[in-house]
Amino acid sequence: MAGSEEKEKAVFDVDAASALVNELRCTFASGKTRSYEWRVTQLKNMLKMCDENEKEIAEALRQDLSKPELESVVYEIGMLKNSCRVALKEVKHWIVPEKAKTSLTTFPSSAEILSEPLGVVLIISAWNYPFLLSLDPLVGAIAAGNAVVLKPSEIAPASSSLLSKLLVKYLDSSAIRVIEGAVAETSALLEQKWEKIFYTGNGRVARIVMAAAAKHLTPVVLELGGKSPVVIDAGINLQVATRRIIAGKWGCNNGQACVSPDYIITTKDYAPELVMLSAIKVSFQFFLAFHFLPCCCSFSCFFNCFVLIQVDTLKNELERFYGKTPLESKDLSRIVNSNHFTRLTKLLDEDKVSGNIVHGGERDKESLKIAPTILLDVPQDSLIMNEEIFGPLLPIILVNKIEESFDLINSGTKPLAAYLFSNKKKLKEQFVMSVSAGGLVINDTTVHLAVDTLPFGGVGESGMGSYHGKFSFDAFSHKKAVLYRSFIGDAAIRYPPYTTEKVRLMKALIGGGIWNIIQALLGWGKA
């Protein structure tokens, strides 16, 4: 009944949160979640849940974000299933204690590092990839043997509601729970003591989360964002680069992704090799990259400005992907809500940049759609260059020499990702050395997310901690150091009363001759 439902919803306050945590602590204390079988069952059920509800999940994502079905199936469900599979395959290896070498200092002894679950953990997820960002950390928390509360984002309500329904159906609700809600519910949850809090979102809320965690000395993983730059050098295959940039920007939730290319940095200069190469490649591209459609960048060869060639290539490829009227394309997500729509249009309409739009700029408030938009040579102090865009707007910043781009990037806060397109070995090395970001990709964008052997996380303002693959397991585990000592062979030098003899022997043990060490080990040193 509506009345009692409302009553139920209103009741999730601090007391309810406290009761929830206590309940989960009891479940955890029972040892249920620690068993290998339990972990495997939950992960298998999660896989089943994805398989059996693909349509419903895609529908919820279409409702929340107008997300194209392929993006939903591939980037959310596909990547999640991959995570489950990797965990299912590997968890038996991950839980094996790691042997640690011991030295003479503690001889005789043996040591190991044991992975144990933390206890009851909280996962707060984001709205742009509501399934992936809720369930991918959950895979790690389960694989590590914890009890979990998941709080999906209320800004993607259909997904939040579906997650709540599905997790109850497929997973063990005595240990895994979903709490839906907004600020009030999240605050109630944050007042509790958790063994870990895993938060995906923005820097402002991250500070609220960390402040709440500090009260209980709760460790946190914060997966945030930033302005992920793309540096484009001359002398590259511009068409391939452009496609990869488009795939990473507009192909990822229409730019609403933490690792989406935020802006491009390139040189003002004329790049003759590029023009030549482009001309040659136009004819050769038929054989390139298994691609069979004609290239349309021939006109750009006649412009003598590198950046204009880039813009032209972008325009052409964008049209190929999304058609002449991108606002109507089914292959582009919409903007999530009117708040963000207003935010983005404000960035576009600022006086400083509104004249710099070289492509796109169309918008439809009713359907919350903004077309892929490129801006050229925007000023550094514009709004669009001072906040994470998180939308389909792509500014291009110009520098005199490509090396200047690294200083430009380093003058801002550290982003979650940084991308470079270049064939020059030295430039690549300099990029890796000098640009600090969560992760770097050379000659592509965003693909590193799919590599489960790479830790995915930020540094500085873009976050702390990391996950994916074994890193997820580690993020939700306590690595307990265990030392086993025997009762034989105690060095008398360890004990008072202290004598100069003992000092001598101790020094010998730290870095002395063999005979001295033997003496010390067998306790033959004079007491």
Binding site: I236, G463, Y495
Partner: protein
């Protein structure tokens, strides 16, 4: 202060601290300081804490030498990038993890091992190539001064600074922007540090404390009993007079073995520390009046006083407390609820030694749990059913010296870890770097979308190479109806 830190950031940007040679030179400089100024170090520790030089060497100087040598040996390896395995389908792509320094870090250390707890993190921060500010504890002024005035002459002061001071300096430092804060101290201040770190989203390592229990099982062999008792006695009383985060806080033992244990402990204490430990200087003193009175206060409760079975005498003028054993003080008394951090050792008796697991779990997680037992099943239970920063069987405190074990807490006892390579890792950002070639790309990666592209993604994700071929050849069709929504 801001301008000083700004110049340190500039220095870091110059890249000077990133070279192998700089890091090695600083570590060697530290080593030289410790070796050349050993006498001064012993004197400072004697002055601040009344530590005997052997104790000082064993716990601080010696372990630092060991740690520096370990870092010197491992540094090149630690600094090298690690190649990461990619699936076969990632043709002509490669990925690696590149360790990079974080930037400018803050190390706040504690007073009980003023040299050790300042320099162990420093070793890690240097090895990782950072610039750093160290704030030693003002409660150990001689050591603080030694670090600020003498140690710095061995190091590159453009990159490594020591700032002395008390809580107000600490507060000022915490307001600045750091790339990491490493704090050793109490949980109370740990919360203040972490709350301050929120402003700049600074990651923290908090090395705190807790009540580290020692579970003592019964032993049939008197040799084993003696060894266990000796180890307990030295770990409690011989380690900065129990003022150590990993010192044994209290003992759990079965009722029937308790009196035997007490007798053995008394004998062991007399043997090691003599009849007049203050004179023999085998036990450090209490750091200051405040802590002395705090400890005195723990024994003020009448019921607690009654439970004292050995020792108990206190010398306020010299800030000295003799080794004291208590048998079954009331569980609600402060001595059993707060971290003792002093030479008072309560022994709690239980009906069965296995009850110790429940007892331990009723308290916040400790930095370490010690279990003296030969019962393999009991060991497994303790491992699986308790949680602590570290766990040691048949000894105590010694895990501090093992470079290959992470040293850190959990829950109330802390966040993060260090020692050995873990120190290097804690001050490093392991950056993921992926490189692709322009020559290979999958056309199905790009819109416009259709069923075939979806199938290709699916088969690629499954590493179903045959499936990929079949889809390309048109022999496998998309079962989904993409337009149904």
């Amino acid at each position: 202060m801001e301008s000083e830190l700004e110049s340190m950031r500039e220095y870091f940007k110059s890249g000077k601290t990133r070279s192998v040679s700089w890091r090695l030179s600083q570590l060697k400089g530290l080593l030289l300081f410790i070796k050349e100024k050993e006498a001064e170090i012993f004197e400072a520790l004697k002055k601040d804490l009344g530590k005997h030089p052997v104790e000082a060497f064993r716990d601080e100087v010696g372990t630092l030498i060991k740690s520096i040598n370990f870092a010197l040996k491992g540094l090149k390896n630690w600094m090298s990038s690690e190649k990461v395995k990619l699936p076969k389908i990632a043709v002509l792509s490669s990925a690696k993890l590149v360790p990079q320094p974080l930037g400018l870090v803050l190390i706040i250390s504690s007073w009980n091992f003023p040299l050790g707890l300042s320099l162990e993190p420093l070793i890690g921060a240097i090895a990782a190539g950072n610039t750093m500010v160290l704030k030693p504890s003002e409660m150990a002024p001689a050591c603080s001064s030694l670090l600020a005035n003498v140690m710095t002459t061995y190091l590159d002061t453009k990159a490594i600074k020591v700032i002395q001071g008390g809580p107000s300096i600490g507060e000022q430092l915490l307001q600045q922007k750091w790339d990491k804060i490493f704090f050793t101290g109490s949980a109370l201040v740990g919360r203040i540090v972490m709350s301050a770190a929120v402003k700049h989203l600074t990651p923290v390592v908090l090395e705190l404390g807790g009540k580290c229990p020692a579970v003592v099982d019964s032993f049939s062999s008197s040799w084993d009993k003696q060894v266990a008792v000796n180890r307990i006695a030295v770990s409690k009383f011989g380690n900065c007079a129990g003022q150590a985060c990993i010192a044994i806080d209290y003992i759990l033992v079965e009722k029937k073995f308790a009196s035997n244990l007490v007798e053995l402990m008394k004998a062991s204490i007399k043997n090691m520390f003599g009849d007049n430990p203050r004179e023999s200087n085998t036990i450090a003193r209490i750091i200051n009046k405040h802590h002395f009175l705090r400890l005195k206060n723990l024994l003020s409760d009448l019921a607690v006083q009654k439970s004292v079975v050995y020792g108990g005498s206190m010398d306020e003028e010299n800030l000295f407390i003799e080794p004291t054993i208590l048998l079954d003080p009331p569980l609600q008394s402060e001595i059993m609820t707060d971290e003792i951090f002093g030479p008072l050792l309560p022994i709690i008796t239980l009906d069965m030694v296995e009850d110790s697991i429940e007892f331990i779990n009723s308290k916040p997680k400790a930095l370490a749990i010690y279990a003296f037992t030969k019962n393999e099943q009991f060991k497994r239970r303790i491992e699986a059913e308790t949680s602590s920063g570290s766990l040691v069987f048949n000894d105590a405190v010694i895990q501090y010296a093992v470079d290959t074990l992470p040293f850190g807490g959990i829950g109330e006892s802390g966040i993060g870890r260090y020692h050995g390579k873990f120190s290097f890792d804690t001050f490093t950002h392991h950056k993921a770097v992926t490189t692709r070639s322009f020559l290979t790309d999958f056309w199905f990666r790009f819109p416009p979308w259709n069923g075939q592209k979806l199938m290709l993604f699916e088969t690629v994700y499954n590493f179903d190479y045959l499936g990929i071929l079949l889809v390309i050849l048109g022999l496998k069709r998309c079962k989904r109806n993409l337009d149904v929504i």
